[in-house]
Amino acid sequence: MIPDRNGHFGQFGGQYVIETLMPALKELDVAFNKAIKNKSFLKKLEDYRSSYIGRPSPLYFAERLTKQSNGAKIYLKREDLIHTGAHKINNTIGQALLAVNGGKRRVIAETGAGQHGVATATAAALMNLKCDVYMGSRDMTRQELNVFRMKLLGARVNPVDSGSKTLKDATSEAIRDWIATSADTHYILGSAVGPHPFPKIVREFQSVIGHETKFQCMEVEGRLPDCLVACVGGGSNSIGMFSPFYNDKEVDMVGVEAGGLGLASGRHGASLARGKVGTLHGTKSYVMINNDGQVQETHSISAGLDYPGVGPEHSFYKDTGRAQYVSATDKQALSAFEKLSKLEGILPALESSHAVAHAIKLAAKMKRSEFIVVCLSGRGDKDVSVAQQALQP
């Protein structure tokens, strides 16, 4: 079973953090392992999923998109329809419940575009926890409305002015907060990254996506899909979709990274395609670094994929060949964003648009008898102004 006791997925993962945090990580691991076997914890989680988050999310057959691609059927797993409009809430509700169980009265989080920050602020409001969100000051300007949403939900948003003033730096600052506060604070990490046990915890709470998909595929198609497609930044929606299918070898998995301005330009977020093995934010994985080992700035039109690292389990899937990783450029993502809006009446998040872009290409090469499931990880309302600037210059 991966990860092993110390959180290693093959050579990846682990706990590359200062000693100060180790007891808190151990305590969290023990608490989590107990909670996910505890009937009353699972019942609470299930109740929130069905009555608050709005699960199960539908599996939707995108008929017009399929017709146009003229190949395999394309299904969309509609994470965009759940509460707060993205898959992030699956994880924050689970982790906030862990915080409450562990007697913590405060939660902290990092956020890039603000989706995870909003989902954390939401869970904190629901469970009456104090909430501090760290956000790069550049992202705060880009995502003003999400900053206001978090404040409405009762969270404090702390601007981060170091480094590139984006998600990478916000994550570092959240970890620094936690080094000083772990005794009474739980860190709700938003992606399948960070020191063990975070990649495992986030995967577990997000795997509801894959489990539902499996069940829904059996219902509508009577079999498992030929291929799963999901976008990968840190990789939480994708690992949530992929991991329940890990042992179903007949199901292909494709993760789509941010190709930005093209891999050759050097301005992208494709850590798996172009990164080297290193350590960032407490875990060993593929990281975008220069020859000297310094972390590089990334670029993507979608803030959620604009991150120089990736979850260790994805690095493991890549090296073992269990999943394939490709990329879609800003342009390709925008074109998929427009296409899904026009053909299906669904505005996808720019992150999810990367997955849609690749699925359209892939479907055209597959047989009509085959079918693909795309994880539509979030809705695109948050991206309307970015898209407007890009599409109507």
Partner: protein, 266 residues
């Protein structure tokens, strides 16, 4: 004999406590930082901790973060750090310890890093983001090249962990005064005293206290309860506040002499 051990033996003979000064490689420039190292040793530092700049140091507060950013902008790299140490060793016998993030070590390759560090004259290594759980990845290689591995003990470390930390460490044990990042608030001396005493009961290694020490008086009070103190953020702040490297050297010299004087009053 290893320079670190020689230094502690000498200090013990003189009944003095160790003063460790942390400086960033490449801030304000490679030459400038080499000058600061020499000045710090002349002013009374017993050991120098060389911070190799990294873009994303998780355990550091704003002063060291900014220092690292400046150094990287000036072109500091791990290779240049090696060259700097090699050059310093032509005129300096003070123990030099690398404080370095795991990313930079892994990027060079653990074995290559240890071999090169030892051959240029580095005496020990602190990799703050490689705790016990990951220490087996570097400790054996440090040992085989004769370098000390200095692990961090913290206020949150359990007794079981402390036992493993001291048995894995060599050279000395670095006690982190507070649960927090570098350059923050200082813990109460009584608390530090209790924790250091607990560590000293299980090891013969010297135990040094670091994080948050900002003035000579704090250094004196804390050095009473342990074998020495480590000053980082404040030293960098002092050197960086000056208008140029020459004045930075003067300011650092003055600061270290005042700390040394206070500590030696004990």
């Amino acid at each position: 004999m290893n320079r670190i051990r020689t230094t502690f033996n000498k200090l013990q003979e003189k009944k003095r406590k160790a003063l460790v000064i942390f400086l960033t490689v490449g801030d304000p420039s490679i030459t400038g930082s080499a000058n600061l190292v020499k000045a710090a040793c002349e002013a009374g530092a017993d050991i120098i901790e060389l911070g190799v700049p990294f873009s994303d140091p998780l355990a550091d507060g704003p002063i060291i973060q900014h220092s690292f950013t400046r150094a990287i902008a000036k072109g500091a790299t791990l290779n240049k750090s090696m060259e700097m140490v090699e050059h310093l060793r032509t005129s300096l016998d003070t123990p030099l310890i690398y404080m370095i993030s795991s990313m930079l070590v892994l990027n060079m390759g653990v074995q290559v890093f240890m071999r090169r560090s030892a051959s240029v004259g580095v005496d020990g290594v602190i990799i703050p983001d490689m705790p016990l759980e990951e220490a087996s990845e570097f400790v054996p290689y440090a040992k085989s090249t004769g370098m000390s591995s200095i692990l961090l003990a913290t206020p949150t470390s359990t007794s079981t962990r402390l036992r493993s930390i001291v048995s894995t460490s060599s050279g000395f044990v670095y006690y982190v005064n507070v649960s927090g990042v570098t350059g923050g608030i200082l813990a109460k001396p009584a608390e530090v005293s209790r924790s250091v005493a607990k560590i000293k009961r299980i090891t013969k290694l010297p135990v040094l206290a670091g994080f948050g020490i900002k003035d000579p008086k704090q250094a004196r009070v804390l050095s009473k309860v342990c074998d020495g103190v480590i000053i980082g953020s404040k030293a960098i702040e002092v050197a960086n506040a000056a208008s140029n490297n020459k004045n930075g050297i003067k300011a650092l010299d003055k600061f270290i002499r005042s700390v040394r004087k206070e500590m030696d009053r004990n």
